[in-house]
Structures are given as C-alpha cells and as structure tokens.
C-alpha cells in the first residue's frame, strides 16, 4: 500500500529490562525525596516513616534519593527522618524538576543500587516521574496508594481506592523488580525528626548528558494563595451547607482564633465559594490534623476519605442523620450559622490571649 517504505524506527523503550534480571540481588526500599528550592515535601518524610516499618520487616536497608542543586541539607534531613542510606545527586541542572534528567538519574540509581521497592509521593511531580521510570525499567506501578505492606515473600501490597473511593484494591507486582508505587500525600505519618540518627550519604556520579536537557523551565509562578492544608494542625471546613463565599469568612474567623486554617468540600469549591486549593477529599488533599471541625458537611465518602484520620472530629450539621456524625467525636445538631459564631465568642471569652496568634 505505502509508496515508500517507512523509515527505520528507533527501537521502542521499555520492552525488556536492561542489564541484571537476577531479582534476588534487589534489596531494600528506595524513597524519592521531592523538593523545591531546597525544601523537601512533607510526603517524602511521611513515606520514609512508613517505609522504615516495612524495611525493618524485610530486614533490608531504607534508602532515599535526593536530587537537586545544593541539596546536602535535605540529605541530612532524610537520615534524621529514618533513611539508612541517602543517594544524593547535586547538579545545577537538577535545580528544578524536569522529567528526562530526573528519570536518568533515578534509573541509574535503581540499576546501580537495586532496591526491591521504589516509592514516590503521588504528587504531580511524583506521578510524572514514576510513570516514566516504571515504563523504562519496565516494571509494575501502583498509583495513589493509601495502604502499604510487605509479606513474607517480600511482595509489596500496595492498596488504593478505586471507583471514586467506593472500593479498595490491593495491587501486587510479582514478575519484576523493583516493585513501584506512588503514595497519596497525607496518608502516613513521618517519624519524629532525630538528628542523632546515623546514616550514610553517598554522592551519585553525574550521568547527565546535554541530550537529556531537552525541555526548559522558563518560569515558575508560585500560587499567590499557597495553602498548606497538609501540615495544618487545626482545620475548620465547610461544605454545601455554607451556602456562599461569605460563610467561609465566618469559618475563617474561628480557624484563626484556634490557630488553624479553613478548608472545604468539593461541592463548595466547585460552587466557587472558595478556591480549589482548599479542597479536602478524594480529588483534593488528604489531611490528618489534630482537630477537624466540619460545618455544613454531610460527609460523603469522597470527602471523608480525605479527613477521617484526623485526631478529633467535631461535626456541626442540621441533619442528625448526616453521615459525618458517624465519624465525629463530638456532634452538634444545629445550624452552623448559629453555632460557629457562638464558638468564636466562647473561644474569645476563654482565651488568655488578647489577639489570635496562629501556631
């Protein structure tokens, strides 16, 4: 049919593992430490925390990979958060994340040091990198896990929600090593920072070549409203029942009094009452604050999965049958419009401080 023979193609990537396929040599867990401007993302430390437990169960080392420009301090932090070995690749070309150079270094480290499990945060960057690496190796990759464990056969059980959080499924990769997963931010707890912990910091040789630098970051425009729900200790959240943007101002007042921040359900952010950056739940952020006050939130599963691990939950809703009460430690049946201002007043009355002083 074709008049001329199509030109010879480049061989397709990711069909066969390159190099060693003696999987018995693969040992330990490698965690990718994500950073921007020399600050690591909390999810990286959360992953080290959960992986410490699994590495001990496997009797294998916990490794971290830090890439960036001038990231020696992050490598030390990784030790303090639980890593036994930290591989560091310090290179001005790695200052900002770009898929190709980052995956080159990551592939090199995986092939050289042979971890049996590789984990990353299910952030935009983590998903971008993990998808490229798993295909390149090739190996199996589980997305957006919320439960992790290892069994006696050293298999990683990565469990994740499916069908809008209506089901959970455990995914296994028996055929290849390393077994890979991305993990939802806010799901696990980091270990306490311990600067007395000992670990090795190992410099990774520079494997980058000019041909790996194919894309150029022109500019990073930081969001003006940089909302850090993940690390908030107190959250006052509103849902459909809040009814408008003005209501969130009332919630914000309570949040500020208590040293916390305001948040919302998808219904409220979709309605445009508050920015999507404040959204908690399946398609937003997962949080585990010390105190979560839910006002005008019915408690749909897609929201509950994002906040059910909060230490104390207070629910305020007009409907005593609202599902949110099932997970609430304290339930108040009533209109948030009356209850929240009353709470602000009661708080002010008992507070020893003249003004609010957020933690």
């Amino acid at each position: 049919m074709a008049e001329e023979k199509p030109k010879k193609r480049k061989p397709m990537i990711g069909l066969q593992p390159e190099g060693d396929v003696d999987w018995s040599q693969y040992s330990g867990i490698l965690v990718f430490v994500e950073q921007r401007d020399g600050v690591a993302k909390s999810v990286s430390w959360q992953l080290l925390g959960e992986s410490r437990r699994m590495a001990d169960k496997l009797g294998a080392p916990l490794m971290a990979l830090v890439m960036g420009d001038n990231v020696g301090d992050i490598a030390k932090e990784a030790v303090a958060y639980g890593a036994d070995k930290v591989y560091v690749c310090d290179n001005p070309e790695l200052k900002d994340y770009r898929t190709r150079p980052y995956s080159r270094v990551c592939l090199h480290v995986i092939r050289e040091y042979k971890p049996e499990i590789v984990l990353m945060g299910a952030t935009y960057t983590g998903r971008d990198l993990a998808g490229a690496i798993a295909t390149h190796l090739p190996t199996g990759l589980t997305a957006d896990s919320t439960m992790l464990d290892v069994d006696e056969e050293r298999l990683l059980h990565a469990s994740r929600p499916a069908f809008s959080e209506k089901m959970m499924a455990t995914i296994l990769c028996k055929q290849f090593k390393p077994q890979m997963a991305t993990v939802r931010s806010g799901t696990f707890e980091a270990l306490p920072y311990d600067e007395n912990r000992q670990g090795d910091i190992i410099q990774v040789e520079n494997v980058l070549k000019p041909e790996h630098l194919t894309t150029e970051l022109l500019e990073f425009i930081r969001a003006t409203d940089n909302v850090n729900l993940e690390d908030a200790q107190v959250i006052v959240a509103g849902g459909r029942g809040i009814g408008g943007a003005a209501g969130f101002e009332t919630l914000k007042e309570l949040a500020q009094e208590m040293g916390g921040i305001v948040a919302a359900t998808r219904a409220a952010t979709d309605a445009g009452w508050i920015d999507h950056a404040y959204q908690i739940g399946q398609t937003g952020q997962t949080v585990r604050p010390k105190l979560y006050i839910a006002a005008g939130i019915s408690g749909a599963v897609q929201h509950v999965v994002g906040m059910q691990n909060s230490e104390y939950i207070v629910a305020i809703n007009k409907d005593p049958e609202a599902p949110i009460f099932k997970i609430a430690n304290y339930g108040i049946v009533g209109d948030w419009m009356d209850v929240v201002p009353a709470l602000v007043a009661a708080w002010k009355k008992h507070s020893q401080k003249a003004t609010a002083n957020p933690v």
Binding site: L15, F163, N226, Y330, A346
Partner: protein
C-alpha cells in the same frame, strides 16, 4: 501538523454503585462516556487545527463498543478515529496499555505522516492512575508535558511549544520542542459541542479497526493480561471509621459552644497545640 489524541471509553464512575449484599460493583446500566480529561485533549487538538491547520487522529484501545466514543470525537471535528481492538489486548494494566498505544501511534505515523503532538487526558476517571500518558511518551522517547492547563504557543516552523503545567504550589511555564506528549487538565479549555453537520458525520462514520494482525512487530508477550506486571489481589469495600459520638446538647447555642470548648480543653489538644485557655 499531525496530532494524535488518545482517548478511553469509561464507565461514568459517578454512577457506579456497590451491591450491598455481594459487595461488588454494579456496572449494569452505567453509561459509557469518553473520559472527560481526554475530551479536553481533543478540544486543544481541534483548536490548533482551527488556528494552524492540522490533521487530528483519535486513537483508542477497547472493546468493539468503543466505536461510539470515536464517533463522538469525529462529530466534534477529528479527521479519523482508530479503534485498536482484539481480545488479546484485554486485561492490560498501564504498562501493557502504553505499549499498544505507542504501537498505534507509530502505525498512525505510517498511515498519515509524522506525529508532532500527542494528547492524553491527565488520567482516566475509572483507573485514576495518570500513568498511561507518561508510559506512552517514554516508549516513544517523546518529552512529556503532564498536567497542562494552558498551551501558550505552538510554532509549527521551529517546532517550539510553550505550555503551563499545573503543580500543587504554582504553575510552570515550560518550553519544549515537538514532537511532545501533553496530558490535559480540565482547566485547559472547554470542549465544544458537535455542530449539526458534525453530528451527521459522526453517526455515519465507521472507525478504522486495528487488531493484533495489523501490527507487524507486535510482541504478544507484552500485551493484555500476560503483558501486565501488576495483578489485583484482594478487593474490599472500605468501612468508614466509626467513632463514639458525644452529642453536645444544651439550652442554647451559647451553652453548646461553651460545652464544646470545655470538652476540647479536657483533651491533650491544648498542650499539643499551645492553646492558652482558661475554663
């Protein structure tokens, strides 16, 4: 320019319910739709076609019934729709899927010329992995521009493309050289409705079907269930955490508020959070 848009026909996951007796998914009666992030990829391809001139090929892997999804894309303005369909492709995970889609893109190049741009949705609403886009880019050695919320400029002469990538803490402006693969966020655009002539073209359109026999270099050990390294172990319906709810009641709202403040001060929260309260 030749633009390939990868799409998937998915069950509308918002409509899926769990059978309370068997704890399994009820799929019956759930409408099949084009994964909506993919429609944003298609819209961007059609916008570039309108502005710069391009051939738009839509590619999907799926059962024969996925021809409806391709007809919808053609009704919106795509030039061709290709259905990669064969029982041997069934049961594929993201790794096996990216292999077949990559083969499909290579074959589309043979048929209709070199590909400059590939669009995928940022993820599907049934799988929610977001892994197939990066997988396809990796296999074809294309630069991947994921989570794109704006295509700022495309220069067909130099091949330069500038896009905005969405991140948790801001937006990146990235410059790359085509061919590249883009995964689309819903912020990218607003997908068009098909025009009346478009609808007529769509319903009459018979998608091109490629089976395993159409791919010369196909490695059968890399497709379908056999080519998929991940397997599903157990599945279960998660139980939401239950708490012993203490109901706070009182004469007035003020009294209830007082009661809550009192209860909270009795916990370890004031110590942990540095609250200075006197009750």
């Amino acid at each position: 320019m030749h633009i390939v848009v990868c799409i998937k026909q998915v069950p509308d996951s918002r409509e899926i319910r769990i059978d309370p007796v068997t704890n399994t998914l009820i799929r019956q009666g759930v409408p099949a739709i084009v994964n909506y992030y993919d429609l944003h990829g298609l819209e961007e391809a059609l916008r570039l076609k309108d502005e710069l001139g391009a051939r738009v090929t839509v590619l999907t892997m799926g059962p024969p019934s996925a021809d409806k999804a391709l007809q919808q894309c053609v009704s919106m303005g795509a030039d061709e729709g290709v259905l990669i369909s064969d029982r041997a492709f069934a049961g594929a995970d993201t790794l096996a899927t990216s292999y077949v889609i990559a083969l499909g893109i290579q074959k589309a190049e043979d048929e209709w010329g070199p590909v400059d741009l590939v669009f995928c949705g940022k993820q599907t609403i049934d799988g929610d992995t977001g892994q197939v886009g990066p997988g396809v880019a990796c296999r074809l050695d294309l630069d991947q521009l994921t989570y794109v919320e704006k295509v700022e400029s495309v220069d067909p002469e130099t091949g330069a493309i500038v896009v905005h990538r969405h991140l948790e803490d801001g937006v990146e402006r990235i410059k790359a050289k085509m061919p590249v693969l883009i995964t689309a966020m819903s912020e990218l655009n607003r997908p068009r409705r098909a025009s009346l002539p478009g609808v007529l073209r769509g319903v009459r359109y018979k998608p091109i079907v490629w089976t395993t026999n159409d791919f010369e270099d196909l490695d059968r050990s890399k497709i379908g269930l056999r080519g998929s390294p991940t397997v599903v172990g157990k599945t279960w319906v998660p139980e939401t955490k239950q708490a012993e709810t203490v109901w706070l009641e009182g004469e007035s709202t003020e009294a209830i508020a007082e009661e809550l403040v009192k209860r909270l001060t009795e916990t370890e929260l004031p110590t942990k959070l540095g609250w200075e309260l006197e009750v």
